[in-house]
Symmetry: C2
Subunit: 352 residues, 2 copies
């Protein structure tokens, strides 16, 4: 299952609105097929792995990070049917699929075909792996990661806005890797106009994974643009927009195209309308605070440099009434060194 | 030597102006004597360990964290002479003693007595252990630790000053342990007047280790006090003030007694006059910034709670001209979990 999760991570941020699933088929202790949801959402992981396994699937075990789908789509057959026809003896899944078209039906169809089914293996890791898909299903919005590059005293820049550089090259490269795992990246208008960030992925081999770019601004669309929404401003959404949770009308109503292929939103809650299930919020401090204030941050990436700035720009008000309210909201899930900097990853602590 | 360093840590902050030294005497693989500098600076570690070893010192090896002293004082004999008379066969030291009354003479006297001498064992750890003594010798001031209890976004309190509580009980207990390792504790006048901190050690068994209390304020001495220095305000300095680097006249000129047994200083550089070699600076943000601005912080203790405050009080200006100047000044030397909080310890990176 760990191998299947590693495969699933390859297209995280590139399969919206489909989940990024991984599948490994093992026969007599040897891997005979590997698959992961392809960019754009198809083929599915199981179809790819079964195609590789061919006849070797007979009697094998399929490890899959999500319940195989039970619905036939114009873009491909149901994976539960493919598995049933393949002759696999056993399917081990991490999670059930909350999509109402599957939600238990996939497992039932496998069992009816005489396949042994078990589930719940590495379920927490799978939830993390497919967080975008699951949050979209549960809350109708993308999974949102907030990235902050900070000094030890919490400054994101000098008082005058200078922030080049707080963190070193290893941490900055890691940020680009994180960008490639998201299908949209958002900055505030201030950061956009001051820094003119390219917001792309500048890592060899991953340039094609540059996400959709989004600017948050309560002001009207950036100059040079009309008032009339044009449906994405020339940026081709990478996912399939047919998901019931992102109707094209809502997307067009809340987003405006901007020059250079940007999407413009006026409030953090409008991220629900983006054709993206993994959103990366990169700055600046006011934008970060707006998302925190709206309760829209699921994951916090802190890149911390071993420097003290003093009097720099820090996170503004997030609507906290008392210190006690601040506690219990964040859980450290990863910490590592990146050159002389440290990365810490926190997840929002939610009621189960 | 690690055992000797552990013994030396017992009276860190209680031996000023003497160094906190540890000594272990080993004969045929068994520990026959253990000693550490006693509170107030005497007896010395070697005298205590030799007294325990008695005749068993003959032919033994003495591990000592600092070169044995070579000078006779009214308060006790020279440790180099005691070791020579004891019959030990070998002395292993971590560091030479920079005190001009010893500085190589201790080792020479041991060699003349036919004792094998080696030095440099765990020297870095010993430097850290006796940082107060060594910084006092090198720079004529105490070793200064700055403690900050912070949210993830660098806030030391809410915007209105509320800071109870950012960190949890484990981190707060650790702060008391750190207080016990210092012989003076300093806060700014704002913190003193707002929080009325007791600034003592409230850990069972360590209450007697509460440090000297110091308030930094550029304003005149706190009300209720006369203008005339009274030499310590009723606080009995715990160390021996005869060290040449802390003449009583300088102490009295720069410090004023305050009510409740406080010492009042008007500028961070006046800490040089305190009868303390390990100073703990506890807050608030303005005081921290004043010490950082003056380049007087040797060690940074960050207690970090997994909370985001937003718009809280953060460290004010420390005189940084450009981001590049901030880099290379701090080195992470320890990180650990304290309940749900994290402690990080940084040391100032100095030229060797």
């Amino acid at each position: 299952m760990a191998a299947a999760l590693a495969l699933a991570s390859r297209t995280r941020g590139a399969t919206t609105p489909n989940p990024n699933v991984g599948c490994v088929i093992v026969r007599e202790g040897r891997v005979v097929g590997r698959g992961w949801t392809q960019a754009g959402g198809r083929p599915h992981a199981e179809a790819m792995a079964l195609a590789e396994a061919g006849d070797r699937a007979k009697g094998a075990t399929a490890y899959v990070t999500l319940e195989p789908c039970a619905h036939v789509s114009p873009r491909g057959p149901a994976c539960a049917d493919l598995l049933a026809a393949s002759g696999v003896a056993r399917v081990v899944a991490a999670l059930g699929d909350p999509d109402p078209r599957t939600d238990g039906t996939g497992f039932a169809r496998l069992s009816e075909a005489g396949i042994a089914v078990s589930t719940g293996v590495l379920a927490d890791e799978a939830r993390r792996s497919m967080a975008g898909f699951l949050i979209r299903r549960a809350l109708g919005r993308p999974h949102v990661t907030l990235k902050l590059a900070l000094s030890l005293d919490g400054a994101v820049s000098m008082a005058d806005g200078r922030s080049r550089w707080i963190t070193g090259p290893v941490a900055r490269a890691h940020t680009h890797l994180e960008r490639s795992r998201h299908d949209a990246i958002l900055v505030g208008r201030g950061t956009w106009e001051t820094d003119r960030p390219r917001l792309n992925v500048r890592l060899p081999g991953l340039e094609s994974r540059s996400p959709l770019r989004v600017v948050l601004s309560s002001k009207p669309p950036l100059k040079g643009e009309g008032d009339r929404p044009k449906g994405g401003g020339g940026v081709a959404p990478r996912g399939n927009l047919s998901s019931p949770s992102t109707p094209p009308s809502a997307l067009q109503a809340a987003t405006s195209p901007c020059r250079g292929g940007l999407i413009h939103i006026t409030h953090p809650t409008a991220v629900a309308t983006l054709p993206a299930d993994h959103l990366f919020v990169e700055g600046g401090a006011r934008t970060a605070a707006a998302f925190l204030n709206a309760g829209l941050i699921d994951r916090l990436l802190l890149y911390r440099a071993p420097i003290v700035i003093g009097g720099g720009r820090t996170l503004p008000d997030i609507g906290l009434g008392a210190l006690a309210e601040a506690h219990g909201r964040w859980r450290l899930v990863d910490a590592r060194a990146l050159g002389s900097d440290r990365l810490e990853v926190y997840e929002a602590a939610r009621e189960a």
